[in-house]
């Protein structure tokens, strides 16, 4: 397998992990909105589902993108595909 194929394989792996996390917090948990709302876990005292829609999911997405960017940069570095000055 060429260097480029390996790079793409890893990139695709990272994509699937990222999308899996994204799926859980944008779609998955809201399948159980009513159940979660009754939960005794109350972040900052807010009902759980309400908190996720107001802050929780949103904040997780922000963190997820920065985490994803960091990981992707590592993958690019590993294969020497990081941009250099003058590439553009």
């Amino acid at each position: 397998m060429s260097k480029q194929e390996q790079h793409w394989e890893k990139t695709r792996g990272l994509l699937f992990i990222t999308l899996a996390i994204w799926f859980v917090f944008s779609i998955g948990i809201f399948l159980f909105g009513a159940e979660m709302q009754e939960s005794s876990i109350k972040p900052f005292g807010y009902p759980l589902t309400y908190w996720f829609t107001c802050q929780g999911s949103l904040a997780i997405f922000v963190i997820l993108i920065f985490w994803f960017a960091g990981r992707q940069e590592k993958i690019d570095d590993e294969f020497g595909f990081t941009e250099r000055e003058g590439d553009q």
């Binding site: 480029q4 790079h7 793409w8 990139t11 994509l15 990222t18 999308l19 994204w22 917090f25 944008s26 779609i27 809201f30 399948l31 159980f32 909105g33 009513a34 709302q37 109350k42 900052f44 005292g45 807010y46 009902p47 589902t49 309400y50 829609t53 107001c54 802050q55 999911s57 949103l58 904040a59 997405f61 922000v62 997820l64 993108i65 920065f66 994803f68 960017a69 992707q72 940069e73 690019d76 020497g80 595909f81 990081t82 941009e83 250099r84 590439d87 553009q88």
Partner: protein
Amino acid sequence: MIKGKFIDNLPKIYGIYTGGFLVFIILMSIAEQAGMSKELIGIFFVSFTVLIYALIGWLSRTLQSDAYYVAGRQVPTVFNGMATAADWMSGASFVAMAGGIYFKGYGYMALLVGWTGGYVLVAALLAPYLRKFGCYTVPDFIGTRYGGNLARFCAVLVLTLASFTYVTAQINATGRIASVALDIPFNIAVYVGLASILMCSMLGGMRAVTWTQVAQYIVLIIAYLLPVFWISNNIGAGFFPHFMLADEVARIAELEGQFGFVKNSAADMATVPKGLAQITKAHSAVNATPWAFISLAICMMAGTASLPHVMMRYFTTPSVRTARRSVGWSLFFIFLLYSSAPMLATLSKISLMDPNLATGIIGKSIAEVQALDWYQNWNQAKLMFVSDFNGNGLLELEEFFMKGDAVVLATPEIAGLPYVISGLVAAGGMAAAMSTADGLVLAISNALSHDIYYKIINPKAETAKRLIVARILLVLIGFAGATIAALEINDILGSVIWAFDFAMSGLFFPLVLGVWWKRANAAGAVAGMLLGLASGTAYLIWVHFMGGAGFLGITASTFGLVGASVSLVAMIVVSLITEAPDSATQKMVDDVRVPSGKTILGKQ
């Protein structure tokens, strides 16, 4: 004070700008104490900020195509994040969102999740790859990746339809705010709004829009957060509302139980001005089915990843790496406002509902409420209404009506804040609507001038001529948008949601598969765009205009699900039954997937 190049001095320049704006707010509040009239404060706030944007627009004028189309590809990560946030957060986010949450609660908050979750898709699936491509516009990517003018043309078609639906809503919003703040009739205010929008974008294209959007972000975020924090402290709810409003949320639920959601009779409702509503849904309860919530969130997420005015912001960063990080910053800056919208809705509601607070009006006598200064103002602007339906002389929860927009615009006054805050909020709403309108108008006119005029009609056109065409188109599209906005067809938010569905129907899969599926070819992309757009539009017409029942619980707000599904199937089937893309195209896709090396279009 400022030495060297503009780009190197950005933190300093915008630091001074922010400081200057805060000083301006303080000066205005001193002027208010000294007796300056409300009308004058509003006029000062809106006109001062708009003039600053116009000045930035003029200073950023350019005659180079790289600067005009992609701001010279040198916008630093964090600043591009701010510009994208302003580009993204429209009049709907600023003016209408807290109101929607106020009235509709949980079911509406799917938009919060959708409009943020979409950025994960942008970062992971598209932005870095399109940046590597080195295109000027989104149709530029489609046209080059798939090859052929037909694919390019279809992309322009979807882009124009989606963005135009969106831009009329933004021009409408600028008009509404200008008409309230400057006290002029709406149909004139629309053109005042348009003039402000064009001043920011016409001379400098993307470069001017970038630097005005950063300035607009600063105004809009201050204007949104200041009242939220202020009201929260004022009513003793906590100094940091985001973490401290749990008691208020619980109290609202208690009051809702106490007052009950009484339905008004049809005869009574007929006397209420159009577009105003009373609270009918619980504030924090889960009152939408999982599918209603999730389907709306999915549409907004896929729409986010397909809207060209957002995507093109990531063409302006210096590299692929910065494009990726810039998406994170964009979402961070958006998060600051979106996480505050539910807090504002909570504070607004508790201020009005709680009889223990001085500002509470529910349970007071109707005459007393009608005598309130702010009630009279907003009633006159047709944004508020009370009526004693049950004839007991007291105001019940179901007897108080408000337009969604009023929640953001009127809450500072309701909560007893000085008028200077209301002026600030008007300036913030104006900034939000203008920045989005600028991004959209530019996306449309760039696609028409670059992809239709330059790439299809006249490939030999010189830069100067291309830029003149781009500017003429910009003005024409602006005027067309303003003319339609003046007709006031849809609510601000209605047409915004449609724009996401249109974009998702036609562009989501052709964009994503262009990077992630090498086998996708021109015939498949064209089929995906056209059939997706056509089926989505047909479904919308059927459900919304012909009273159709729809299927699978898909509504006029989520018709993108129909369009995108058809688009995906059509694209895969047609791609597979036609020839695979040639080896040059396959090589191009390979190159897009690697960050290093020259951009694809830079090589040609």
